[in-house]
Each structure stands twice: as C-alpha cells, then as structure tokens.
Subunit: 312 residues, 2 copies
C-alpha cells in the first residue's frame, strides 16, 4: 500500500521537474510563498479547450506554450513582470504519456524563456476534449498597473505586431490559406506576448487583443468612456486581403495601447530596443464609447461581427 497510483506518478515524472520555489515540490495541498515586498500582485486565469482554442492535432508542446503565453499576454497588457503559475489539466484517460511529456517540455521551454516556474495545480480525467486552465501571477510597482480605463480623448491608438495574423493563422493551420513558409500557422499556434512593452508613464491605457481588434477596442472605449477612430489602412497586416477577418478575428495577442502624443516618441524608442514593431492606427476622442473604422476612402466601415465571443 505504498505504491504510487498512476495520477501521482504522472505528476512526479512530468510536472515535478517544472516546480519552483514555493511549490513544495507539488507534494502538498497548496503552494506557500512570501510575495515580493512592496510589490502589487497581478493575477489572471485563462482556459483553453481542445477544438476551441487549439486544434485537435496541435503538438502538445505548442499547446502548453500557447496556454502559458495567452496568460503572459494578460500580464504584458498590465505592464506586469511574470512570477509563477498554477495549472489544471483535464485529459481523456487514453491520453498517451507522450502527450504529457511533450506538454511538459513546452512548459519547460517557456519557463526558461520567461523566467517563471510552476507553483501548483491539478490533473484530472475527462470524458470530453482536453481542457486546460492556467492562473498566472506577476508583480508590478504599487499603482503602476496599466488599466483599460485610463485612456483620454486625444490619446493616440497604437498596436504592437501585426493584426489579423492569429485569424489568418487559423485559416492556414486548417488548410484554407496558402502558407508556404508556415509563418501564419506558427502565429496561430505560438503567440508572442509583448512582455515589457507597456510601461507606466509611456502607455496610458492598455489591453491585449485576443478576441478581435474592433471588439477589444470597444472594451477599452467602454472602460475609459472614450470613442475611438481608426483607419483601416493604418492597421499593420501581413496580407493585403482578408481585411475584415484581420480586424475582427481572434488570437492575435498583441497589445492595444493609448499613448499621449507627447509619449509616442518614447514608445517608439522603447519598442525598437525590444525589437517589437509598433504602429499608430488612430486616435481616441470624447465619449460616448464607440469604435469607428474608416476605409481608405474615408467611409465608415460596417462589420457583420466585431470579434469573437463564445456564446453569440
């Protein structure tokens, strides 16, 4: 009666090597740690479901890294530095050990890249698709977390990276878009969280673009009580066509920022140092909250949907 059952053996083999300070080696009921003195904690949780947030055949290491990175992107949007994470993994009983090995290898790779460790979590079985949930912890200086609610009329609207790559990537990964170099599929499968880009004092308000630029910009407008006007032609995109898809598709994990005109030069310098492309796409104006997208001819564009929702 001292043999480990399969669930605990699985944790010991694949997840224990990922565990860091405070995790108690994943052998206790909870993790325990003294939070960094004088810092605020920034904490967020996101779920991913097989067939909804990733493709059934996606490699396990990329699934793990996408899960971690979508959560890191939330910290990036707050201007927070990552600290550690907890994870729950629900898998069908027939999931091969190789899947867990690949999943853990992906986590290990990104733990090293982003300087974080595993604090705790849970593994369970499910009769359904693989369901994952991750809670990420980060820190920032008191009062320095960058909110969505602090954009002001007159602020410029900036984005990082290219908008629409996530949606184009899903088309590519499912064989509906030519992708000879694999660039697009990679952009769908492996987000690049823009850690360190949004700095208090330079960026006035920020969020990450995960559910479609137009919809997410609407969230920022409502939170700040401002209107937004963007020019479609200014939005950085990787392909000249698929305009509506790029402006409303999900999975970009880029940052959407409100920047005072006097700070835009500082943003450009900071982004260049980090090697991140940033682009001004429009301007915030007085409320009420509304997003206007103008085409090259100056005409206001209309969309059948502004972004991704799980329950529309």
């Amino acid at each position: 009666m001292s043999e480990l059952p399969a669930e605990f053996s699985l944790i010991a083999r694949h997840f224990r090597p990922l565990a860091g300070e405070g995790s108690l080696n994943l052998t206790d009921d909870a993790a325990v740690f003294m939070p960094p003195a004088g810092r605020e904690l920034v904490i967020s949780a996101d779920a991913m479901v097989q067939g909804v947030h990733f493709l059934p055949d996606d490699a396990a290491d990329l699934v793990a890294r996408k899960l971690l990175r979508t959560n890191l992107s939330d910290l990036a949007a707050m201007g927070a530095a990552p600290l550690s994470y907890l994870l729950t993994v629900s898998t069908p009983r027939a999931t091969p050990d190789d899947w867990f090995a690949g999943f853990a290898a992906g986590l290990a790779q990104d733990q090293a890249e982003f300087g974080i460790t595993l604090l705790g979590g849970d593994t369970t079985s499910t009769p359904g698709p693989i369901s994952l949930s991750l809670t990420i912890l980060g820190t920032c200086a008191p009062g320095q977390a960058i909110r969505r609610s602090t954009a002001l009329p007159g602020d410029e609207i900036w984005v990082s990276g290219r908008i629409g790559d996530g949606a184009l990537g899903l088309l590519a990964a499912t064989g509906r878009l030519a992708d000879p170099t694999g660039y697009f599929a990679d952009r769908y499968r492996l987000p690049r969280p823009r850690m360190g880009l949004a700095m208090a004092g330079v960026v006035r308000a920020c969020m990450d673009v995960s559910d479609g630029l137009v919809q997410d910009l609407g969230h920022l407008c409502r939170a700040s009580g401002v209107a937004a006007r963007i020019e479609a032609a200014l939005v950085p995109r990787s392909l000249p066509d698929h305009l509506e898809l790029c402006l409303t598709g999900g999975d970009d994990y880029e940052l959407l920022m409100a920047v005072a005109p006097a700070q835009s030069a500082a943003l450009l310098v900071h982004a260049a140092i980090l090697g991140i492309e940033v682009t001004r796409i429009g301007t915030f104006g007085k409320g009420p909250a509304k997003v206007t997208v103008t085409a090259a001819d100056g005409i206001e564009m209309a969309f059948t949907r502004s972004g991704w929702s799980h329950f529309d």
Copy 2:
C-alpha cells in the same frame, strides 16, 4: 459596434456582482492587489469535470459550492485563512442562462459564508462536458503553513468528521444506497471544509482526505518518511457496513492530522469550540513509509485499491 457580445454580457450579469477588491470589476486583463503585509500567500488550484467530479444533473449552485469548497479544503489543510479566488468556466454553448444564475448564486452564498470574493477568471465554450477550474488564495503567518512532511514517529493520527461519507454519498446520489433523509447525497454534493481546525503548534502535519483515507495517508507517510498504523474500528463512519469503500473512497474533504500526544487535548478543545468532530484513529511510527490497517481482530487488512486516481 458598442453592443456587448453574449459572453461579456454573461460575465457582467452573473459574475461581476461576485467581484471584490482587486478584481477591477472583472473588466481588465488581470486583477491587481497588494498582498497583506507580513503574511505568506497560500495558493492552490483544483479542476472539476461534469460526470467525473459531480453528477450531470447536480444543481448548479451546489456544483459551484463544491468547486469552491474543495479548494477551501486545501487551504484548511495548510492552516491558511481564505482571501479570494479566480475561476475558469467552460460550458457547452447550449448551457441555459439559468445554469449560470444558479452557479453564481452558489458562489455568492459561499463567498458570504467564507468571507471571500472573486478576483478574476475566464468563460469559454466547450464541445464537451462542463469543465471548471478554481484557484484559491489564502494567507498564513510566515513559516506557519502546516505541511504534509512534518509528521514524526509517535505522533497520533487524527481525522475530522466521518470518513467514507463522500463515497457513500455518491452511492446515495446515484440511487445505490437508501438515503431517506438525504444526509449522504448532501455529503457528496456539499463538502464541509474544516477551516480553522488545523492550527500550527497543535497540529504537526496535515492534509485533506480527498482521494481515499488509505491512499492519502500513504501520501502523508511518504512526505514525512514515517509509517502509519490505523485501526479500522476507530475510523469514524456513518454506517456499520461498506468498510472498505469508506476507507478508500474519495470526496470526503476531511482533515488528516499528525498530532503530538501532548497536543491532543488542545486539539479536542479547539475542535469542540469549532463544533467539529475529531477522532484518533492510529499512530505514526518509524519509516519506511507504509500504511497498515488492522481489523478488529488485529489482522492486517488488504484492499483491492487504496484510493482514487484519475489514470489508473
């Protein structure tokens, strides 16, 4: 383009009323809070899947409360005080609004009972069963978290409540055990986390019994490097039969404690004040780690399985 899509409307209606300090009203990318000064943080995450951890027809409010309480039980096992939680909820698209209303009502009820609020989370759709994950945060005085690894030979083995009620409750809830008063089904559906029972200085080592007493006692033995001997007749149970099921079945969420003989009187007084039944069931001895269960006739008992594992 300023109308809220269904997912965000759902969050606003059902989850925003649960949100507390630091949550930023669930409208930002992450929660932000200053951790209590001079306290360690205790943090744990558990997942629950429909049809695995709860029955498909279980009422949504009870599902929510079980999810919260299984996590609270982890804090109780560490001797930690609860603070707040994050939640991810993956549901089929056809899940009625009533389900979310009931789920939120259950959370609200237990938030009030345990003095906690919602910090953040995520809602997604799933083609599979309802999948839930919760991360709970608590605090304790530095160095005072009660571990599994600190039991000593000679310590007494104590448990709270009655062992096996969870497994008997599953039988009752599925019509396989007569349950005229509904006592057992209630014990399966609504764990009673034993907050405040395990106190540093009184309890030397502790864990919660969630996967079967014998198996969980084995975990504690391995963590502490001790052997355990318990007498089946001493284990507090609600029915005279179903002995093996009670000793190896899951879902009890009672506390399993190592207590120095000199502290057992203090434990009894403290438990009486809290109104929690506690019972001595055996003694820890020198390692190697091994669990021995003796029957009333002194003979060592053998079990076909020692507890619940998701992947056996």
